[in-house]
C-alpha cells in the first residue's frame, strides 16, 4: 500500500442474516477489493440491488463487515468500535442519495450543517456556527439568508447541496457519494457534480462515487468499478472501460446507455442484458453473471472467476480472459 492511498478495501464481505436456523443470508457484498489514491475518484456502477450502497455503508461503518479489511489512510478501521471511529469520521464523510430523507425536517439549515462541528467539538454552541456555516453555504451556491430556513422549503438540488455542505464542513479527505445525483433532474445533476469536482480540484480530496448512470460516472471518475450481485466484475481506468469493456456485463451496461442522436442509435448494436438480477439470498454457483451471460461456458457455472489483470490497470473477473 503506497503512502498516497486514501482508502483501501480488501475482500470486503457483508452478509445479512435473514434466518439463523435455515442459514439464509443476503450476500449483499461478497469479497470486493479496490483502492482509491489520494485526490482521485473511483466510480462504482451497477444495477439496483447489486450492493453498491451496502458497500458504501459498510466502508463508513454503519454496518459491521462480515469479513475483509478496510484501511482509511493506512489505518485498519475494520474492527474499530464506534467510539474509536469517532475521530476518524472527520476524515470520511458521506453524501446520501435521497435529498428529501437525508435532512431532518425539524431543523434549520444552520443546525443541519453545524451538527458535525458540534459532534466533533469544533464549536461548542450553536451560536458559534455562523462563522463556519456561512462560508460553506456560499461555497455550495446558497446564501446566508438560507441558514434560517427549514429543509423542506428547498428544492431537491438545493437540498442536495445542503447535504454536501454538511459532508464537507469538517474538511474530510474522503467523501463517499452514495448516488448523490440519481434523485435529481438532469439539469441539476450537472450543477451538483460540478460542485463536487471543483471542490476536489481545490482541496485534493478523494471520492468514492456511486451511481447507476454510466455517462455521469465517466465525467467524474478516474477509475471505474463495475459491480454485479455483490462482486466486482471489472475495474479499470475510466476511459478504458468505455473504450474497451471486457466483461460481458459491462458491455451490456454500456449498451444500455441512451444515445441522444437517433441516427447513431439505429446503427448501435442493441446488446441489452436479458433477464433479471438473481436473488442475492441464493446467488448462482460459479460466475454470478453466467445465467444471463450470452458467452457462458460450462466452466462459468462451476468456478467463480477471480479478478485478474488482463492489461495494465485493467482488471476483470471473467473466464473469457
Amino acid at each position: 500500500m503506497s503512502e498516497k492511498t486514501m482508502l483501501e478495501v480488501r475482500d470486503l464481505t457483508m452478509h445479512f442474516m435473514l434466518n439463523k436456523s435455515k442459514n439464509l443470508k443476503v450476500h449483499a457484498v461478497d469479497g470486493i477489493s479496490f483502492a482509491i489514491p489520494r485526490g482521485k475518484t473511483l466510480g462504482l456502477v451497477g444495477e439496483s440491488g447489486c450492493g453498491k450502497s451496502t458497500c458504501a455503508r459498510t466502508i463508513i461503518r454503519i454496518y459491521d463487515p462480515t469479513d475483509g479489511k478496510i484501511f482509511l489512510d493506512g489505518q485498519d478501521i475494520t474492527r474499530l468500535s464506534q467510539k474509536e471511529l469517532k475521530p476518524l469520521r472527520k476524515k470520511m464523510q458521506m453524501i446520501f442519495q435521497d435529498p428529501y430523507a437525508s435532512l431532518n425536517a425539524r431543523m434549520v439549515v444552520r443546525d443541519i450543517i453545524a451538527e458535525p462541528l458540534l459532534a466533533h467539538g469544533i464549536i461548542h454552541s450553536k451560536k458559534e456556527a455562523g462563522e463556519y456555516v456561512y462560508p460553506m453555504l456560499e461555497r455550495v451556491g446558497l446564501t446566508r439568508e438560507h441558514a434560517d430556513r427549514y429543509a423542506h422549503e428547498f428544492s431537491g438540488g438545493q437540498r442536495q447541496r445542503i447535504g454536501i455542505a454538511r459532508a464537507l464542513i469538517l474538511q474530510p479527505e474522503l467523501v463517499i457519494c452514495d448516488e448523490p445525483i440519481s434523485a435529481l433532474d438532469v439539469s441539476i445533476q450537472a450543477q451538483v457534480v460540478n460542485l463536487l469536482k471543483d471542490y476536489q480540484e481545490e482541496k485534493g480530496i478523494s471520492y468514492l462515487f456511486i451511481a447507476h448512470d454510466l455517462s455521469m460516472v465517466r465525467y467524474v471518475s478516474d477509475q471505474v468499478g463495475v459491480m454485479y450481485l455483490g462482486q466486482m466484475a471489472e475495474l479499470c481506468e475510466a476511459e478504458e472501460i468505455y473504450r474497451k469493456p471486457l466483461h460481458p456485463y459491462t458491455q451490456g451496461l454500456l449498451g444500455s446507455i441512451p444515445i441522444p442522436n437517433p441516427k447513431l442509435a439505429r446503427e448501435k448494436v442493441t446488446s441489452g442484458i436479458q433477464g433479471d438480477i438473481p436473488s442475492p439470498v441464493n446467488p448462482p454457483e460459479g460466475c454470478r453473471f453466467c445465467p444471463r451471460c450470452p458467452y457462458a461456458k460450462p466452466v462459468c457455472s462451476r468456478e467463480t472467476p477471480r479478478l485478474k489483470e488482463v492489461s495494465p490497470g485493467h482488471q476483470v473477473a471473467c473466464h473469457l480472459y
Partner: protein, 397 residues
C-alpha cells in the same frame, strides 16, 4: 413599494421584447419566495382551519381560567357549610310577599327563607308554632304571621288570616348561582376547585407519562434487539394488569389523596406512550437523516433528542391529548367510587358521588359536574383530533 418597482421593471422588459426570456440572476434563482414559517406556525396554520379543534381549545382555555382564577371571585370557600341552606337549586320556585317587597322560599327542611327581589337569599324566618289541624306551620315575618300549608303537594305559603295562597313566582338564585349541595356548600365554588383538581391531575399525569414514556420508548426503540424485547415484555405485563384494579391497589397502599391519584395514574398510563414512541423511533431510526447523523459521529444523545424525538412529536402530542381525557375520567371514576379525594376537598368525581344520594330531589347537583367532565373530555378529544390532522404532513396544502 419595492415589489411595485420590480414589477414595473419586469413589465418594461416584456414590452421591449415580448417573446424574449427575462434575464435571470443566480441570486434570484436560489431565492425562496415563501414566508419563513417554522414547523409550529405551520401546524397552527392548519389547526386553526378546523372549527371543532378551535372550539375545543377555547373551551380548555375558558375552563383553565375558570379553575385558576374563579375562586378569587366567589365569597365562599369549598368547605364552607351552611346547614340552613342545603340543597338549594339554582332556579327557585318562590311565593311573593303580599307587600311585594320580597319572596319566600320553602327549604327541604320546611323552613322559610326570605329571597330578596334581586334573587339573593336573605334571612331565615323564625318558626312560631305548628297547627296540625289546619296543616300549617306558622312563621314570623316582620311581626305578621305567614304559614306553610302542607295540605297540598307541593307545599305552599299562605296567608293564615285571609286563607289565601300567596302568588307564585320563579327567580334565579343569585346567592348560589348553581345552588348548594347536601351540606349547604356552594356548588359553583366547589366546581372551580373540582375542575382545578381534574386539570391538575390531567396535566401532571401527562407530564409524568411523557417523560417516562418518551425516555422508555425512545431507549427501547433505539437500542432494539434483546433490550427492546425485554423492555416491551415489561410493558406488556404492565398493560395486562387491569388498570382500575391496579390504581385502586395503589390508592389502598398509599392512602387516598391527590398525591396517590397522581402516582397511580402516572405509573400506569405511560405504557401507551412508550409504545407510540418506540414505534416511531423504530421507523425513524432507519431514515437517512439518522444514518447521516451516525456517519457524522453524533453522540446517541444528540440523535435521540435532536432527530428522533422531534420527528416523533406529532404522534406524541396526539397521544397526550387523547390521554388527558382518560386520566381525568379515571380521577372522576375513583372519586365516584369514594377512594379519591377525601372531603371536604372537591373533585368532579366526588361531587358526582355526593350528588347521587339525592338524585331525585336535586338532579342539578349531579348534572353540573357531569357536564363539566363531558366538556373537558370533549374539548381534549377535539383538540387531539385537530392536532392529529394538523401534524400530518400528508394533509399539507
Amino acid at each position: 413599494m419595492e415589489n411595485e418597482r420590480k414589477n414595473t421593471e419586469a413589465l418594461n422588459l416584456i414590452c421591449e421584447d415580448p417573446w424574449g426570456a427575462l434575464p435571470e440572476s443566480r441570486q434570484e434563482r436560489e431565492k425562496i419566495a415563501g414566508r419563513n414559517r417554522s414547523f409550529f406556525s405551520d401546524v397552527w396554520f392548519r389547526f386553526r382551519r378546523k372549527p371543532t379543534a378551535l372550539a375545543g381549545l377555547a373551551v380548555i382555555l375558558i375552563l383553565l381560567i375558570f379553575a385558576l382564577f374563579g375562586p378569587y371571585f366567589t365569597k365562599y370557600s369549598y368547605s364552607d357549610q351552611n346547614l340552613d341552606l342545603v340543597n338549594i337549586p339554582p332556579y327557585l320556585s318562590v311565593f311573593e310577599a303580599e307587600d311585594g317587597s320580597c319572596y319566600f322560599y320553602i327549604t327541604q327542611s320546611l323552613k322559610v327563607v326570605v329571597v330578596n327581589k334581586d334573587g339573593t337569599l336573605g334571612r331565615q324566618l323564625t318558626r312560631l308554632r305548628e297547627d296540625e289541624k289546619q296543616k300549617m306551620i306558622f312563621f314570623d315575618y316582620n311581626g305578621e304571621e305567614i304559614a306553610i300549608f302542607y295540605g297540598m303537594q307541593p307545599y305552599v305559603i299562605a296567608n293564615p288570616v285571609a286563607r289565601t295562597v300567596m302568588p307564585r313566582a320563579k327567580v334565579w338564585n343569585r346567592s348560589y348561582v348553581l345552588g348548594t349541595d347536601t351540606l349547604g356548600r356552594d356548588i359553583l365554588t366547589r366546581l372551580m376547585y373540582g375542575t382545578r383538581v381534574s386539570l391538575l391531575v390531567a396535566f401532571i399525569a401527562v407530564i409524568v407519562n411523557m417523560v417516562i414514556g418518551i425516555v422508555y420508548g425512545g431507549i427501547s426503540g433505539y437500542a432494539g434487539g434483546a433490550v427492546d424485547n425485554i423492555m416491551m415484555r415489561i410493558v406488556d405485563i404492565i398493560s395486562t394488569i387491569p388498570l382500575t384494579l391496579y390504581v385502586i391497589l395503589i390508592m389502598v397502599l398509599l392512602g387516598s389523596g391527590l398525591h396517590s391519584i397522581i402516582i397511580a395514574i402516572g405509573t400506569v398510563y405511560w405504557v401507551d406512550m412508550a409504545r407510540v414512541v418506540r414505534g416511531q423511533v423504530l421507523t425513524l431510526k432507519e431514515q437517512e437523516f439518522v444514518v447521516a447523523s451516525k456517519t457524522i459521529g453524533s453522540p446517541t444523545k444528540t440523535i435521540l433528542t435532536q432527530h428522533l424525538i422531534p420527528n416523533a412529536m406529532g404522534p406524541i402530542l396526539v397521544t397526550v391529548t387523547m390521554l388527558i381525557p382518560s386520566a381525568i375520567f379515571m380521577e372522576a371514576f375513583l372519586g365516584y367510587l369514594g377512594i379519591g379525594l377525601q372531603p371536604p376537598l372537591a373533585s368532579l368525581g366526588t361531587m358526582c358521588n355526593d350528588a347521587t344520594e339525592n338524585l331525585k330531589s336535586c338532579p342539578h347537583q349531579l348534572f353540573i359536574p357531569a357536564l363539566v367532565i363531558c366538556l373537558i373530555m370533549f374539548a381534549f378529544n377535539f383538540v387531539g383530533d385537530g392536532l392529529r390532522d394538523a401534524l400530518d404532513p400528508k394533509l399539507k396544502k
